[in-house]
């Protein structure tokens, strides 16, 4: 109980300064502008254009780079789990997903998350 109280107290204490909030506002504006541009272009610009194809390719590459970093070079708690275990979990989840990609996202995600919890329990022993 005491731990929970301590957790709540520290959770509501402010940690971020002006700089982080500035970054958040800049990122939020950037994200909103993309939505607004979509409204502006709706029904006017071809979705098959080369520019959109290039933009999509860049986005995929960036999300892929992010995913690889989160799995291979995590910061914080995940880095306490050995790399090979992280990779084994990913392989198992991908295996579940590939049995039937159109219906297996939820089970694959659940199995991967539960395996990570299990590893945490074993590590804590």
């Amino acid at each position: 109980m005491e731990a929970i109280t301590a957790n709540l107290t520290s959770a509501f204490a402010t940690q971020q300064g002006m700089w982080e909030w500035l970054a958040l506002i800049a990122a939020s504006i950037g994200t909103y502008v993309c939505r607004a541009v979509g409204v502006m272009l709706s029904g006017r610009v071809s979705q098959e254009s080369e520019f959109f194809r290039w933009l999509s390719a860049v986005t995929y590459a960036m999300v892929a780079a992010l995913t690889i970093r989160l799995i291979f070079l995590p910061v914080g708690m995940l880095s306490t789990v050995p790399l090979y275990l992280r990779l084994v979990i990913c392989a198992i989840a991908l295996g579940v997903m590939l049995i039937n990609p159109s219906r297996r996202l939820v089970p694959a995600l659940l199995i991967g998350t539960l395996l990570m919890v299990a590893i945490g329990i074993v590590q804590a022993l």
Partner: protein
């Protein structure tokens, strides 16, 4: 989508009852414009006058009802994971929740957290998050032409914030079965629910991350990396598969040279290279294979 039935009752009967069968993901939208041409079909859909709703309020609540289910659960889980990530990386609950509220785009939110941790500049962060948000351009541009002409006014610039993967995919499917004048209300009900559950999701993830035993927190922060990885298997366009592969290779290499901007440079280098290879060889090969010149 290519051959919409002309009889409105057929359209109504084809309406899927369970969205949970196939959970749509952040990745679907980028691919969608390859296969479907929503704007061209709008006129056909407009003719499908079904008496599905009696009023705009009815349409709104029907949107709220349709938002519950597997897609919203995955969104909620992602937000819980994001909240846990914020907690374990030393962010406070205000900042973490404000991120979900203001950005409402998971890949961008995680890119931002990562880049703040690495100490990147605000400008680099804004550029990188905006790039992950470009999918919204294509999503909006395919969905909003289906709205009634009366609804396509300045107010859309406010309502577009409710647009995310889940609301987009469900709306695209459902719009075909309703009168155009009710579509905006339906979209608002659905989008508002998704946006509003992302806030308790983030707060719950944040608060339980510090209160529950360590193994559960570990599982929570692993949700999003795993989620992104799994959605990559749903991409069918070979050019984009190549972009994912090259991005995965470019990522760690760029990280060695310059940590702050590595996501941005990896995306640019990997994506542009994949686009170029796709245009130069893959598409030409596909064309020849199909019996073209």
């Amino acid at each position: 989508m290519s051959t919409p039935p002309t009889d409105p009752t057929d359209l109504y009967n084809q309406r899927p009852e369970h969205f949970g069968d196939r959970v749509t993901t952040e990745m679907d939208c980028l691919e969608s414009y390859q296969g479907s041409h929503q704007s061209e079909n709008t006129s056909v859909f407009d003719q499908a006058k079904t008496a599905r709703f009696t009023s705009t309020t009815h349409a709104f609540w029907s949107g709220v009802r349709d938002g519950r289910g597997a897609p919203a659960m995955v969104l909620f889980a992602g937000m819980v994971g994001f909240g846990a990530m914020g907690r374990t990386n030393g962010f406070d609950v205000w900042f973490t929740t404000a991120t979900s509220f203001l950005m409402f785009a998971l890949p961008g939110q995680i890119v931002m957290l990562e880049m703040i941790l690495l100490g990147a500049s605000s400008l680099t962060i804004a550029l990188a998050t905006s790039l992950t948000a470009t999918r919204f351009v294509t999503m909006t541009a395919t969905l909003f032409p289906m709205l009634h002409a009366r609804d396509r006014n300045k107010a859309l610039y406010a309502k577009v914030h409710l647009l995310a993967m889940t609301a987009w995919a469900v709306s695209l499917k459902e719009f075909a079965t309703m009168e155009p004048k009710y579509r905006l209300s339906y979209f608002c009900g659905l989008g508002l629910l998704c946006w509003l559950i992302s806030i308790p999701g983030t707060v719950v993830g944040f608060l339980i991350a510090g209160s529950v035993p360590m193994p559960i927190t570990l599982g929570l922060i692993f949700i999003n990396p795993l989620f992104f990885l799994l959605t990559f298997t749903e991409i069918k366009v070979s050019g984009y598969r190549l972009a994912i592969l090259l991005g995965s290779i470019a990522g760690p290499i760029c990280y060695l040279f310059d940590r702050d901007t590595s996501l941005l440079t990896a995306g640019f280098i990997g994506g542009t290279l994949a686009y170029w290879i796709d245009r130069k060889w893959i598409r030409r090969y596909d064309h020849v294979k199909r019996g073209g010149v």
